[in-house]
Subunit: 188 residues, 2 copies
Amino acid sequence: MTPRPGARQRLLDAAEELFASGGFAGTPVDAVLARAGVAPATLYAHFGSKTGLQAAALAARLRRWDDVWSAAVAAAPDDRARLLAVFDALDAFGTGGTPSRWCAFLDAAAGAPADDGTAVAALAEDTALLRGRLRELAAPVAGEDAAELAEHLLVVVTGALAMALRTDPARATAQGRATAAALVDRWR
Amino acid sequence: MTPRPGARQRLLDAAEELFASGGFAGTPVDAVLARAGVAPATLYAHFGSKTGLQAAALAARLRRWDDVWSAAVAAAPDDRARLLAVFDALDAFGTGGTPSRWCAFLDAAAGAPADDGTAVAALAEDTALLRGRLRELAAPVAGEDAAELAEHLLVVVTGALAMALRTDPARATAQGRATAAALVDRWR
DNA sequence: GTCTATAGTAGGATAGAC
DNA sequence: GTCTATCCTACTATAGAC
């Protein structure tokens, strides 16, 4: 790793941290520029707009989330733990950087002006990743009902992310894990 | 009901509809004024600020939600249906006005600048209402485990609200109901 | 209480030099 | 590619008349 990453990478890092903690709409471009130590024109040369930067930052975040989740699954001892590892991953993902009150993908879709396809597409990718992997991991536990169980867990994971707004994030993931466990145990 | 409500009420109605559909941050004051047919100064005379208007609109919305939910509970035939009636209420609440992609209370808290106590307080009231009534309704079904079941259902209801961003709201509530039913049936 | 008109400001984006 | 400096729009809020 070079001592100081290029402007593009610094912008992505700054955007991911600030958007995740303060929300996309609530984070001015100036704040990202200041944190990255970069001039306005550089941002627009690379990403075209604030929304373009958001899209790139979300794509990077999705890859990172994918990695963290994979690692959590690999570390789990059995099928049941692998299925519930998504909550370990959420804990690890949250404490990895700036503490985020809220899921960046849901935030992006919630704040988008309804005609902005960028944020919706990013959330769709996140949803597809969650649904797909939950189905794979549910198969050894629920067999033919894997798809059904995966849909239940998708609701619970999404609920845990949103519960971070109602209570503190640590409690939110803990409760989500408990609820998911109660569901999974129906198929034991 | 008078033919044309006063400016204050028209502002509240317009704010509730527009904030719910387009989000608080994404809805300019001008849009609320145009829909209400009211001049800027009138808004500030009544509510002091855009945030003040939001607070009043959220309070009105919470009362309306309380009523809709109560009605749905009253219409349910048995204990299990009364506990799951929250999803009927969500369907009825959504179709009542402008179709909202998203929960106004969660939106308010997600979009708030983190130091704004107004939105956080409104979300806390909403959370308290949900948790409290879910516990009452869970008692006949789960007995001593009512509090535990209520926490599970709080996650699922919150998840259903957030799932409205991932998919269409009707599917979100339907899936939420299914997940909640699976949980409730653990206590049968 | 309500209006018309306007002030003040913040945020997103660009022009042009190096 | 990057910087300095600046423009322009859109928004919140207010002043003053009726």
